[in-house]
Symmetry: C2
C-alpha cells in the first residue's frame, strides 16, 4: 500500500512548516500527486488543578479568525524532545511546573496532508508559578470545573481537536 | 485580541489547500507573521454496524509514511454541504447508506496554522451496499468490536484525531 515518491518539488520553506508536492506511485501501478505540509510536531498538556478545574488558554486563531479555548500547547523546537517541550510550554503558558507528565495520546490532526504529530500529556503534581509568554503570544488562562468543561464540549464552544480529546479522556478517567 | 491582516502574500494555490503568509497586527500594537494553510474543510462519520462493530478504513498516509486506521472521511467538494458530503463519503468508502447522520463534533485539527474544519457525524439506520472509491484512493474496510476499538486506542495504534475522538465518544455513549 506504500506510496513511493517519484518526483519531489519543494514549494515553500517557512518558519512553522514546509510545503512539498510529490508525485507518488500507487498500488495499481498508476501515479498521483500528494500536496504535503511538513511540520516539526507539537505537544499539549491536560492540566487539572488542585480544585479539580481544567486549565485552558484562550487565544486568537488567525487560520479561522476566531478565539479558541485550548489545553496548553506549543510546537517542538528543532531537536527538542517532546517531554521537555511539554514541560516548557506548560510553564510558559500557565506558570505551572509538574512533577510528572504522563503521555496519554499521540495524534495526527490532518493526516491527509500534514505530518504534524501532537503528543498529549496529563500533568501530575502541580506547583504554581509565573507565566512567561513568547512576545507574539497573547493568551488568557481560564479555569473550568468538570461540569463546565463537559458543557463547553456539548455546546460546541470547544472546537480544538486536542482539547476535545483531553476533555473526553478526563470524562472517561472519572467513569473508570 | 483579533489579529488584523496588514499584508497578505499568496504562496501556493493547490488542489487540496492554499498557503498564505500574513503580516498581522498584535494586541500590543506590534506586528507578527502568520503562515497559514487554507483548506475547504472535511467530514467524517462514526459507523457502528448491526453487530456493534466500528467500521474503520485503513489507508496509507503519505504525510507520515505510514498506514492509518480511521473512521470514513473525506474533504468537502467546492460548494458542497457538509451533511451531503458525509453521506457521499460514507457510501463511497464503505458502501453504507444511513437513514440519518447526527453531528457530534466540529473540530480544527491544527488550529495554529490550518483552517480545515472537520464535521464528525454518527450514522443511524444503516443499509449495506457497494463501495465506490476515487481512482487514487486505496483503502481497506475493517470492523472492530467495542473492546477491540478501546484496545486500539489504548495501545496507541490509532493516531488519527477524528478517530480517537469518535471512539472516545462511543465509549462515553455506552457509559451514559
Amino acid at each position: 500500500m506504500e506510496e513511493k515518491t517519484i518526483e519531489r518539488e519543494v514549494i515553500y520553506e517557512g518558519k512553522i512548516f514546509n510545503v512539498e508536492k510529490h508525485v507518488v506511485s500507487l498500488p495499481n501501478g498508476g501515479t498521483s500527486v500528494r500536496e504535503l505540509v511538513y511540520h516539526n510536531g507539537a505537544v499539549a498538556v491536560l492540566v487539572v488543578d488542585e480544585d479539580d478545574r481544567i486549565v485552558l488558554v484562550e487565544q486568537y486563531r488567525k487560520a479561522f479568525e476566531s478565539m479558541s479555548l485550548e489545553i496548553p500547547a506549543g510546537k517542538l523546537e528543532v531537536g527538542e524532545e517532546p517531554l521537555a517541550s511539554a514541560k516548557r510550554e506548560l510553564e510558559e503558558e500557565t506558570g505551572y511546573t509538574a512533577e510528572t507528565l504522563e503521555k496519554i495520546f499521540s495524534f495526527y490532526g490532518a493526516p491527509g496532508f500534514c505530518s504534524e504529530r501532537v503528543d498529549v500529556y496529563v500533568a501530575h503534581g502541580l506547583t504554581a508559578g509565573t507565566m512567561n509568554l513568547d512576545e507574539d503570544e497573547f493568551l488568557q488562562v481560564q479555569r473550568f470545573t468538570f461540569d463546565e468543561a463537559v458543557d463547553l464540549l456539548a455546546s460546541g464552544r470547544i472546537t480544538d481537536a486536542k482539547t476535545i480529546m483531553a476533555i473526553q479522556w478526563w470524562q472517561l478517567s472519572k467513569l473508570k
